[in-house]
């Protein structure tokens, strides 16, 4: 990571850190809420990029782990366990276990088959969620904000915001260390030339499985945070279009870069938020058809914006994060 890349990361994170005070000054609390959601999805996107961008594993079921993390919080909350020190470890463990099991099976395939099997696993969880009548079925269920023994109060928007911020920073630091470690070198090597890696003596399957599990675990945290943000859990969080959205964030922001997925999550969610308004302002009555414009924008970014938003900020050099 050269200086410029670090600069983009630091400036980006500093801007995120400034959102609550700025929102306070301008008396626009809505932005705290909106950017908390953006950061939650940024964590999910960073975790996907670990396997997609660095590991070449095109997982099309990443929203499954958001769902697992969210349902862990929701179900515990349903049974009266609101303690975050219980909820979060359970969410993390559940996501890790599910990712491990899904990875064990799906990583035996490659290419299109891998995409399809990860998609199938996620859809399986989605339909499982729908079938859970006790937990609201497809209507979902309420989730109360986690309690942290009075240390932090998640019902306070600013405190919740900075908790999410801390998790995002942690996710970035962990990812940065991982991809530059020996472990990361193997994962990136397996993406570049898996057969060669095996010929050199790396049993690549177990390293990819470890990366897949770590990514799912990290995404599970995003899920636990999402349940708190939404104060609601539903199977919709696991729908395949959600997995697609996370993937779009990664591609839009810059695959295989550390900060790219954060930029992508910000870009995509801001567009979703404001595109309808802008269109409505431009030509009245068009706002509700915003997806007609969104689609071509995404296609254009994928086709022409190689390297994503991140490439606009930092020169891309080789294989680095």
């Amino acid at each position: 990571m050269d200086r410029r890349q670090i600069l983009v990361a630091v400036i980006g994170l500093a801007l995120f850190a400034l959102v609550p005070p700025l929102a306070g000054i301008f008396d626009q609390p809505f932005y705290v809420d909106m950017f908390a959601r953006i950061m939650i999805f940024a964590i999910a996107a960073v975790s996907l990029d670990l396997i997609l961008g660095y590991g070449g594993m095109v997982s099309f079921g990443h929203a499954a782990y958001i769902g697992v993390g969210a349902y862990a919080v929701g179900i515990l909350s349903y049974y009266g366990i609101d303690n975050g020190f219980v909820q979060f470890p359970v969410a993390i463990a559940a996501a890790a276990l599910i990712a491990l099991v899904f990875g064990l099976m799906s990583l035996r395939t490659t290419g299109v088959y891998f995409i399809m099997i990860t998609l199938a696993f996620a859809q399986m969880l989605y339909f499982l969620g729908i079938s859970l009548e006790e937990f609201g079925g497809d209507d979902g269920m309420p989730a109360y904000r986690s309690e942290f023994a009075g240390l932090i109060d998640l019902t306070d928007a600013d405190q919740f915001y900075y908790l999410v911020f801390a998790f995002l920073v942690a996710a970035l630091v962990v990812t940065h260390r991982l991809i530059h470690s020996r472990f990361g070198a193997v994962v990136r090597g397996a993406k570049a030339n898996e057969r060669r890696m095996q010929a050199m003596g790396f049993p690549t399957y177990r390293y990819k499985l470890a990366a897949f599990t770590i990514a799912g675990t990290m995404c599970g945290i995003a899920g636990a945070l999402f349940a708190n943000w939404n104060e609601f859990v539903s199977p919709d969080a696991m729908h395949w279009t959600r997995s697609g959205e996370i993937m779009i964030m990664v591609i839009m922001g810059g695959m295989g870069t550390l900060i790219g997925p954060v930029l992508g999550a910000t870009g995509l969610l801001l567009l979703e938020e404001y595109l309808p308004e802008w269109m409505e302002a431009l030509i009245a009555g068009t706002g509700e058809h915003w997806m007609v414009v969104m689609g071509p924008i995404l296609i254009a970014i994928v086709l022409f914006g190689r390297g994503g938003i991140y490439a606009l900020f930092a020169r891309r050099g080789g294989d680095d994060g």
């Binding site: 260390r177 530059h180 010929a199 003596g201």
Partner: protein, 252 residues
Amino acid sequence: MAEAALRIEGLSKSFGGLVATDNLHLAIESGEIHAIIGPNGAGKTTLVAQLAGELKPNAGQVIFAGRDITRLTMPARAALGLARSYQITSVLLNFTAEDNVALAAQAVAGHSFRFWRPARSDPALRQPAREVLAQIGLAERADTLAANLSHGEQRQLEIAMALATRPSLLLLDEPMAGMGREESGRMVALLESLKGRHTILLIEHDMDAVFALADRITVLVYGRAIATGRPDEIRNNDEVRQAYLGEEAIDA
């Protein structure tokens, strides 16, 4: 006689009706450069694939350093000290030359479930990588992306990656493939310098190189070894001449 570095016993492999390896028996002695030659379709690359663990034989055994490795996976064989290079260049293109070799060094430096310390500043990996690059003559290209190396340099890098795993046996599948005269000259000199230090199984079409380098040569035709011997023995073997070499090689 000491245990051979590699023993192939009754190895057979067929693809449908095509017999690629036909009850092959072969012993590679420790420290020798053993060349395998044969016309196209003789089953040379299929043999390398079976030795490296990429293909499972239908029958027979591969004994490496006294151990039956027939059922071991490719990474497990590599970990035992069996390194290979590919006929079609296979390096990590978006890694620098040094990163490629450092990764090979990492392969034999214990497990890689080390998640925190940066690998790129780890002298335990960079030092051997630089040494091997210097040995192979790529030192000044260390920071160049493998994709930007010339074809000849990529072939050298392949050898460097194989060497960095500190193998006891090198399987080199046509290291001179696609090289110009000057480049293959350098490769011959390089392999010459490895002679005695490593056991090498060399598959090569370049007959000048084979006869210059090999201690012993095995001629493979339709998956069978029709002759094994010193270069002069092979050159004067009637069956070999008939089957493969032709007049041109006899004059060489």
